[in-house]
């Protein structure tokens, strides 16, 4: 009797310890997010104060080391926005049609091979994308458009488009495969062809999942630094397709090593702006996923 009681209280004790450990692990994750947020806000605000919010966000010249320094990050913001938009325009149609093909049309063997390839594409480090872009894409663009230098926004867009493909394809395939077969049967039984069925029933039924995939791609593209730094020329110009440009991410990555004083503080502010973008994208993602769960 005594033994049994002991065992039971020991078990209860153990349970509490384990519960405590898991709670702690969970708190560490939340703690990291909070720490980053607080740190970015605290270190990002002073420079914005000193430069002025409007001047900082909408100034079109970034010359932190000139005799009369100027700290406008509009070129970075626009480059990040254009670069991401370009990657979406290029990558989403390819990813979307690939996903429809894989989810609905592809023979099992081909599907297996392509899905493996897509998974590998997701696993390639971004520096490798950058390297290949630098060696193949940049010279290619230089030759094709007869430029003095091929390192430009267009090169970055192409690299980003390839980089966001895996997440778009995978999430869209999952969404399309989750469409109940009953919908498709109903459409076919009305005399619609398989193609009509996919595009008029399956895709609309999977639209919130596909939208979430696109938003995820946007997040990935706007946050990418290494690959775009290697192919975009990394000069703080206002963006143009064939201009050498610098992204929000690459501005921080390339200058942080030597910056000091206000320039260093301003880089934290750039990071804060990037962080706000990512937060907005996450909010959009949550919105789409919630819509999916509701229906």
């Amino acid at each position: 009797m005594e033994m049994k009681k002991n065992t039971r209280s020991w078990q209860k004790h153990m349970e509490q310890v384990v519960y405590g450990i898991f709670l702690l692990l969970g708190l560490i994750t939340i703690g990291c997010v909070l720490l980053i947020t607080v740190y970015l806000v605290i270190s990002g605000i002073p420079a914005i104060r000193q430069i002025g919010l409007v001047e900082f966000l909408f100034g079109d010249t970034w010359k932190p080391t000139a005799a009369e320094p100027s700290y406008g990050i509009l070129p970075f913001i626009l480059t990040s926005v254009y670069g991401t938009a370009g990657a979406i325009v290029l990558g989403v149609p390819i990813g979307f049609f690939t996903a429809v093909y894989l989810a609905k049309m592809a023979p099992r063997k081909i599907k297996l091979v392509v899905e493996q390839a897509v998974s590998m594409l997701a696993g390639i480090p971004s520096v490798v994308y950058g390297l290949v872009g630098m060696m193949v894409l940049v010279p290619g663009i230089r030759e094709l458009f007869d430029l003095s230098d091929g390192a430009c926004l267009l090169a970055a867009i192409v690299v980003l488009a390839v980089m966001i493909l895996p997440s778009i394809i995978k999430m869209s395939v999952t969404a399309l495969e989750a469409v109940p077969k009953e919908y498709e049967d109903a459409s076919l039984a009305l005399g619609a062809t398989p193609e009509e069925t996919w595009f008029r029933v399956s895709v609309p039924a999977a639209k919130s999942g596909i939208a979430a995939a696109v938003v995820l791609g946007v997040g990935r593209a706007i946050g990418e630094a290494m690959a775009v730094m290697m192919v975009s020329g990394n000069v703080a110009n206002m963006p143009g397709l064939f201009e050498s440009v610098r992204f929000l991410t690459t501005a921080v990555a390339s200058e942080m090593g030597y910056a000091s004083g206000l320039q260093r503080q301003a880089l934290f502010s750039v990071a804060l702006v990037l962080f706000v973008f990512i937060m907005l994208i996450n909010a959009a993602l949550n919105y789409f996923l919630k819509g999916d769960r509701k229906s």
């Binding site: 109940p180 009953e182 919908y183 049967d185 109903a186 459409s187 076919l188 039984a189 009305l190 005399g191 619609a192 062809t193 009509e196 008029r200 029933v201 609309p204 039924a205 229906s295």
Partner: protein, 249 residues
Amino acid sequence: MKPIITAKDLCLWYGSAQALDHITLDIPENSITALIGPSGCGKSTFLKTLNRMNDLVEGVKITGTVTYAGKDVFATDVNQLRKEVGMVFQKPNPFPMSIYDNVAYGPRTHGITAKKDLDQIVEQALRDAAIWDEVKDRLKKNALGLSGGQQQRLCIARALAVAPKVLLMDEPTSALDPISTSRIEELVTQLKDRYTIIMVTHNMQQAVRVSDYTAFFLLGELVEFGATESLFSQPVDRRTEDYITGRFG
């Protein structure tokens, strides 16, 4: 009565498992034919062969012939066949779109785009399916907001909107409550003047209530076919008698 669908020596295999064994059957026009039998007897498989929905199953093999209006169904254009031989499924399966778009889906697929024509087709189909009064004020609302019984009548409306000649119904009331079931049964009897209806049912009372002819399937064979009244009152085959008196199944 003149047959609209004729099956002759129809055999069907899923891989190596035979699901239909030399079915020969004439379906009379403008009547209701019930297909009854225990689970796995092949009645649903037979139904799905008539509009070639079995084509979608991998490893299916079919021998024998099925003719619809004198034409071999396996040689005609499948989309045209399905336009004329519509289907209502066991589980109500409206598309996740508005009530209007659900009904308009079929006509749009077959090339009708003028809003005026579509409006008219949608209204007529919903009236024919006895659901117009319940949904006329919310045609733009999502169809998934309807009750199960309403969804099934909407699915019937959707099938009627492409103006089929034959309506295949695969246990259309098995997922519904008794009141919705009786509404559908009533609707089906009204529709038989204009359509030929072939209905798989698990419910023998339902077969007696609504059908003119009954076919009894067992283990992939057609055991007996005849006018519903005589099949249920004086079954010829011993197995039919055992089944309808509840000795098995």
